[in-house]
Structure formats: C-alpha cells, structure tokens
C-alpha cells in the first residue's frame, strides 16, 4: 500500500533529483552509469523505500537526458555519453547560427518522448506481465537451472558484443570476464556484486587518470585552459507547441515508443546513433537533416532510458539489456536481502506504481522544461565557471570507494581496482562497457555451463 508519507517522500526526492541532475547533465565528463547508479545504490543502501528511489531515478533520467544536450547546442561539448551522437549535427546547425533552434527543439522533444514512452511502457508492461512468469520459469539445461530471461540477456549481450568497435575482443571477453568475476567471488567467499559493478563503471576514468598521471598518454597533455565558446541565443517562447514542426513531432512520436521497447535488450546509445542516422538519410539539405536528427535523438535518449529500465523492472524483475544492467542495475541488485525491483512490484499495486512514475516524470518535466528553455545559457555559464572537473571526479571516486568498502571491506576496494583496470583497458580497446555490465549479470549462469567441461 502506498502511504501518504511514501508519496510525499517520492515527490520531494523527484524535485531534488531533477534539480541536481540538470547540473550534472550540463557538466561535461559525467558518464551516465557513473553518476546515476552509485547515488541510487547509496539511497537504496541507506534504507529508503525502493519505490521512492525509483521516483528519484525517473526524475533524474528526465532531467539528465534533457540537460546533457544543452552544452552540445551551446558549445558542441556533450554533457554525457548519450549526447555524443548529437555533436556533429549541433556543429552543423550552429554553423548557420541555429543554436537556439536546436536547443528548444531538443528540450521539447525530450519532454514529449519522456511522457509518450512512459505511457506506452506502462500499458505494454501491464499486458506483458503474465509473460513475466513464463520468463522467470527455470529450465534444466545440461544440468544447469536457467531462468528463461537469461536467453534475452544473452541475445542482447551477443548483439552488443558484435556491434562493439572491437567485436572479436568483445566476444572473447565474455567467457574470460565471467571467469574473472566468479574467480574473484571465490576469493571473497561471498557473492559480491556492487564492487564489481562500480569497478566497471569507473574503468574508463581510472585508466585515463592513471595514463595521464604517469605521463604515458602524451597526446592527452594540454597547455593552457580549455576554451569554450558559448553561442548567443535569443529569448525562446515557453509554449512547447511552437517548438516542433509537424514532421519532427511525428518522428518523435514514432521513434520514441519503438526505441523504448527495443532498449529492453539493445544499447540506448546504439539506438540513438542508428535511428538518428536513418532519419538523416530522409532529408536532402544537410542543415535540415541535422536539425531533424538532433531533435529526434534528443527524444530517443529519454525514451530508451525509460523503457530500458522499466520493462525489465516491471515485467521480469531481472536486467536484460545494457540500460537495466548498467545505470539501472541498483534496482536488480540484492540489497540487505531484498531485490528492489521485486519489492516494488510485490508491495505496490500497478496503479500505485504507475501513479508514482507519472508523478515523478511530471514533476521533473515541470522543473526541467522552464529552467532549460529560459535559463540554459545562464546556467551553463555558471556551471562552466564554478564547478571544476577535479572536484567532481574526486567526489565520484570517493563515493565508489565508500560503497565498495561498505559492500565488502578492503577486498571490495581491491575488487573495484582490479575490475576497473580490466574494464578500462577493454573500453580503451573498443569493447562497449555494456558488454561487461551484461556479462557481470550473466556470470553465474555462464560459469555453471563452463564448469561442465
């Protein structure tokens, strides 16, 4: 039963989350998993109701995945990994002085896509729920008890590995990483998840940091500060109905629901690239093509994050794709004997769950939309001038170290270091981090098969 106290807490956390993640969204160098997962994990570990943490998380998706393209539109710098595919189109639009055009179109597209995909996901998940029992049934295959959702996970994992830049390394990584994880678990004498997960998350940061500090990566040395050129923008009307053309709106309405479902097993960033490129091919004029692709991609970011988390969470209770195994992993991780995803679906009715999700999306939209339409330039200026990257990286690494220690003591910290070095090197060599997140989830089952030989 949803009590008033829980509901109020959900509202408060959604407000806080939207405000915090606008800033994190604007900041460059903030990876999605690294900034969303540790904080959600921390909130779950301190004993907050998982539904309240879900409200926080959905608001952070709406805010983060809308604000991360603001620095793209204003300065050509991505505010997160998901905004990277938008950079070339933004540069094209800025070249002809249309920074404010893509800014308002992007923000509005994100808002539309968030609601459309959430509503579709809620309807779809309701009808797919019976499928959950089927997918959670365990079959005995070659002496190993395998839940059926595992095959979805494995399918998504193989697709992601094959589409990785270094596909052979990615494919070979799967069984090897399984052995590394299971081997470390034997050394820990318990089934640790959090420290391995955090290790993968900060892998790229750790490798870049170590290389730079040792002077190994000479091409990363810079003299003088980074120059950021902010485009001037004129006043933008608040009325969202005036921002998108009919063509843009119909593309957002078509692609955001489709990609939100595909993100159940496919990579959000992969979908953002794929669909954007597809749409770009429809237009002859390069500037028009770029504006359309930029706008639709902005919506797909929100849609894939919402669908990629909520469908596995509501229907299956286990992660099946790069989103649910990555940024959304805290909800599928056993914390003090409770799996948050299962807790949410068993303790609350479908109506209550839908209400909280719609409410947190609405709250986030009401905060994010006016702030970004009216003050994005001012805000970007303040954030760029006041928040140093050093402080942020220091905070991320500290959060990871504290959570790993809380998870498994000194072994937890050493596990984070081990896994982060391996993950960072693999990432540097063209293996998508999603492959590692999904392998971590699949590890016990794959290992049970490996042991047969």
């Amino acid at each position: 039963m949803l009590g008033l106290e829980t509901l109020l807490l959900a509202v408060v956390l959604a407000i806080l989350s939207a405000l915090i993640y606008i800033i994190i969204g604007i900041l460059p160098g903030t990876d999605e998993t690294a900034t969303m997962a540790p904080i959600a994990l921390a909130l779950l570990m301190i004993g907050l109701d998982p539904l309240v943490v879900l409200a926080w998380f959905i608001a952070s998706i709406v805010a983060f995945k809308t604000a991360d393209s603001i620095p793209v539109a204003l300065a050509g710098i991505p505010g997160g990994v998901m905004a990277v595919p938008q950079v070339p189109d933004a540069v094209e639009a800025k070249r002809v002085g249309k920074a404010d055009v893509i800014l308002r179109k992007g923000v509005t597209s994100s808002m539309v896509a968030s609601f459309v995909s959430l509503i579709l996901v809620l309807i779809l998940a309701f009808y797919l729920k019976p499928l959950g029992d089927f997918l959670n049934t365990r079959d005995l295959i070659a002496g190993v008890s395998v839940p059926r959702w595992f095959w979805l996970l494995l399918g998504g994992l193989l697709i992601l590995a094959i589409t990785s830049r270094n596909k052979w390394l990615a494919l070979l990584t799967i069984p090897s990483f399984v052995v590394l994880i299971q081997g470390l678990r034997l050394a820990y004498e318990k089934t640790v998840f959090v420290s391995f997960f955090l290790g993968i998350t900060i892998g790229p940061l750790v490798i870049e940091l170590l290389e730079a500090l040792s002077g190994y990566a000479r091409d990363k040395m810079r003299r003088g500060f980074m120059t950021v050129k902010l485009e001037p923008i004129s006043d933008i009307p608040l009325n969202p109905l005036r921002h998108l053309t009919r063509e843009e709106l119909s593309h957002v309405l078509i692609w955001s629901p489709i990609t939100s479902v595909l993100a159940m097993v496919m990579s959000p960033v992969g979908l953002t690239i794929l669909i954007g490129d597809l749409i770009k091919g429809l237009k002859r004029a390069p500037v028009e093509a770029s504006i359309l692709a930029y706008t639709v991609r902005d919506g797909i970011k929100n849609a894939t994050y919402i669908g990629g988390l909520l469908i596995p969470l509501i229907v299956i209770g286990a992660p099946t794709g790069p989103m649910s195994a990555g940024p959304g992993a805290p909800f599928f991780t056993e914390i003090k004997g409770v799996i948050p995803a299962k807790y949410i679906t068993t303790h609350y009715s479908y109506i209550e769950l839908s209400l909280v999700l719609l409410l947190s999306t609405l709250i986030a939209a009401l905060i994010v939309y006016p702030i970004l339409i009216r003050y994005s330039r001012k805000l970007t200026l303040i954030v760029f001038k006041r928040v140093p990257a050093e402080s942020l990286y220091g905070l991320f690494i500290t959060i990871v170290i504290l959570l790993a220690y809380y998870d498994a003591g000194l072994r937890g910290i050493l596990g984070v270091i081990t896994v982060s070095i391996v993950s960072g090197i693999l990432w540097r060599n063209g293996v998508s981090l999603g492959v590692l997140f999904m392998t971590l989830v699949a590890a016990p089952i794959i290992f049970a098969f490996i042991k047969q030989f």
Binding site: A217, R223, L395, Y406
Partner: protein, 88 residues
C-alpha cells in the same frame, strides 16, 4: 578568472575535461578524508545518540556520503575550473 590563462600550466585531458593533476589529487584526498572520517566516526556517534543497532549500519554509509558531499562543496571554494568561457 583570467581571460588569457598562463600557457605554462600543464593540464591533462580526462573524459573531455581539462584537469590539473595536483588539484585532482588534493580534491580526491580531501573528499575521501572527510567521507571516510564521517563513515568511521558514525557508528560511535550514533551509538552515543542512542540510535537502534539495526539502523546504525545504514546510517553509517549515509553519514559517509554526506561527509563526502561536504568535501565536494569545500573543494569548490578553492579549486578553479580549467575552462575559459568566451561569449559569457
């Protein structure tokens, strides 16, 4: 911030951001020390405050994270971003 910063400042690029190694180490050390201090003092503090044993474990990590967040805000005061914003 100076419009034309000293070119002799040696920076490294991490994740698309320019970072001064010494500043990064100082900020990490400060945040980590405050976080760890709060984390390890928390159980004793909470015990003297009469908090039930079951909640002490989860409040310990909460206080640790609050400590780290305070550390983060303190670093904002003395570490300057390595960006020059044009058109501001």
């Amino acid at each position: 911030m100076k419009r034309d910063p000293d070119d002799s400042v040696e920076l490294i690029e991490i994740y698309g951001e320019y970072v001064k190694p010494a500043d990064l180490l100082v900020s990490l050390a400060e945040t980590l020390v405050l976080g760890a201090l709060a984390y390890f003092i928390a159980p004793y503090l909470l015990k003297t405050l009469g908090v039930p044993k079951d909640t002490i474990a989860s409040l310990t990590i909460t206080l640790g994270l609050i400590g780290a967040s305070i550390g983060f805000f303190v670093t904002l005061a003395f570490i300057k971003p390595k960006r020059v914003v044009e058109g501001g």
